[in-house]
């Protein structure tokens, strides 16, 4: 059953159209990756789901249309968002950053905090440290943790490995896998790191200049000559 369905989605910045008729479905309990170069429209697609851009077309979450809803209502329905480069609150400690994420579900804040600390144990010992003084990897962990704090059923993650060392990327990948397997969370992520997305996702969509060029199971696409030529150079 598709948890998220997108049909003929167009997104606009002023008069400029940046997404052209996107069709996409995210099955419950899966990880779906959107791969594409800079400017392909990956972040715009995620912003559109959150109601942060002007759109045409249909987006449904759990069979309910998101048309006309504001981000507060959309997050309240069970969609969590970890934006590109975290967008953390740099002069706040880790704990406070996480708690801002629980604003829509205050009763679940303590329980979710424990879940985040179990996924990222390093954050517990640094809960008072201002996130502006943390490394890129730690900040990414806080960003993912903050998105988890709203008890989402669908987690959307924008380029979680951008600017991170390979070892940290592995840690992020295993955390996302645990969220998916142990917490039963459906994940939609965008990436430029093709190997990372291929390794993690069940399904992959290739997005270029605002259009989906290729879609399929990650296992199948890994051997697709078109994809290999475009992203692996062979």
């Amino acid at each position: 059953m598709a948890l998220l369905e997108i049909e003929n989605l167009e997104a606009f910045y002023g008069r400029a159209r940046s997404l052209h008729g996107i069709d996409l479905a995210v099955e419950a309990g899966t990880i779906v990756g959107i791969i594409g170069p800079n400017g392909a429209g990956k972040s715009t697609l995620l912003d559109s789901i959150l109601g942060l851009t002007r759109t045409k077309g249909e987006i449904r979450f759990d069979k309910k249309s998101l048309a006309g809803l504001n981000p507060t209502q959309i997050v309240g329905m069970g969609i969590g968002y970890a934006p590109e480069r975290g967008h953390l609150f740099p002069f706040m400690g880790v704990r406070d950053n996480l708690l801002v994420g629980a604003h829509t579900v205050p009763d679940e804040a303590e329980k979710n905090l424990e879940t985040v600390y179990s996924l990222f144990p390093a954050l517990r010992s640094r809960e008072k440290q201002e996130t502006g003084t943390q490394s890129g990897g730690e900040r990414q962990m806080v960003s993912l943790g903050r998105a988890l704090m709203s008890s989402p059923r669908l987690l959307i993650v924008d380029e979680p490995t951008i600017g991170l060392a390979p070892k940290i990327c592995d840690d992020i990948a295993s955390a996302l896998q645990r969220m998916n397997r142990e917490l039963g969370m459906t994940i939609l992520l965008t990436e430029q790191n093709v190997n990372f997305a291929m390794h993690l996702a069940n399904d992959i969509h290739i997005l270029e200049t605002g259009e989906i060029r290729l879609s399929g199971a990650a296992g199948e696409l890994r051997n697709d000559p078109q994809l290999r030529a475009a992203y692996f150079g062979r």
Partner: protein, 321 residues
């Protein structure tokens, strides 16, 4: 916030309140009068800080809010002979309404544009008080001989301190809540706050309302303390900058900061008066502010906090011996 930390902070508040209540017993009347002005400046600086220090929307028009309260209560008491217990709450209410109007542009614009719009409001109010119905507002000369709440330096000190302390304590309690954290988050990254599902519109309206209410309380009391209101003094750019500098110098985004800054600035300006009787005093405080800001952008509050952090283990060790 862990309970032990909360209780420790509560103790500091009580100690500060008790210390300030003892001051009139030992200080001269002159010092007490200075402290009254410092209390007013602290109220105005806290009001500015709620909106600008907390949410990052820099307001250059706070005298506009103070002016609404001041003129409302002055006109009500002067022309309608309204009692103070009626005119002051009405003045605060008028400031809340005026404040909503004042801050509405913030829903559409941000940054420099917001600051300029608020500055324009202050200038507009300055012109309006002189041109529109000068018989009611007193025109360029303003209104004088207004009722006072109580007489004498010491009673006025206790009144202003209690009001200032109550406002500071309430604001401190608010900062401990989820709303306080969310307001601070807006200052750092408003888009991220929106993406997390928080209604920044409601949060900003709350901050704007609280800021206007505090400015209204301060403005209404101030007018009845000095017994007059004049547009030239109220809408003076130096008055605006004194409020801003008090908050920034003390430590913007904190509660204790604007109070510290207000006390520091009031005494600094007064003690410079014998040496620099004119407006050149403002150069000195400008220079001091610049130095503090360069050395510690988070203000005097942060300097004292660091000093306390270094000294407290030493004191604790000394006591243990």
């Amino acid at each position: 916030m862990p309970k032990s930390r909360f209780h420790r902070s509560l103790l500091y508040w009580l100690a500060f309140g008790a210390f300030m209540c003892l001051i009139p017993l030992v200080a001269s009347t002159g010092v007490v009068r200075l402290l009254i002005f410092a209390n007013f400046l602290a109220i105005f600086a806290m009001s500015w800080d709620i909106i600008s220090g907390r949410t990052g929307y820099i307001s250059f028009g706070h005298p506009f809010l103070i002016g609404i309260a001041g003129y409302t209560t002055a006109i009500l008491t002067r022309h309608l002979d309204a009692p103070l217990f009626v005119s002051i709450p009405l003045a605060v209410l008028a400031t809340l309404v005026g404040g909503t109007l004042f801050f509405l542009p913030a829903l559409r614009i941000r940054g420099t544009y917001f600051a300029l719009v608020t500055l324009a409001f202050m200038e507009l109010m300055y012109q309006l008080t002189q041109v529109i119905a000068p018989k009611i507002t007193g025109g360029t000369r303003g209104l004088s001989g207004l009722k006072t709440i109580i007489l004498g330096a010491v009673p006025n000190y206790y009144l202003t301190f209690c009001v200032m302390f109550a406002i500071a304590f309430c604001l401190w309690l608010i900062t401990r809540t989820r709303i306080g954290t969310a307001l601070a988050a807006i200052r750092m990254d408003e888009e991220a706050v929106t993406a997390l599902g928080l209604s920044t519109l409601k949060l900003k309206l709350f901050a704007f309302g609280a800021s206007a209410a505090v400015a209204g309380i301060g403005g209404a009391l101030y007018v009845h303390y000095i017994g007059s209101i004049a547009p030239r003094a109220l809408f003076d750019i130096n008055f605006l900058f004194t409020i801003l500098v008090a908050a920034l110098l003390g430590g913007s985004g904190t509660i204790a900061g604007p109070i510290l800054g207000a006390y520091f600035l009031t005494f600094l300006l007064e003690y410079l008066r014998p040496y620099l009787p004119g407006a050149e005093r403002y150069f000195i405080y400008g220079a001091i502010t610049l130095v503090v800001y360069v050395l510690e952008p988070r203000g005097l509050h942060s300097i004292l906090e660091r000093a306390y952090g270094k000294l407290s283990p030493i004191v604790a060790r000394g006591l243990a011996k």
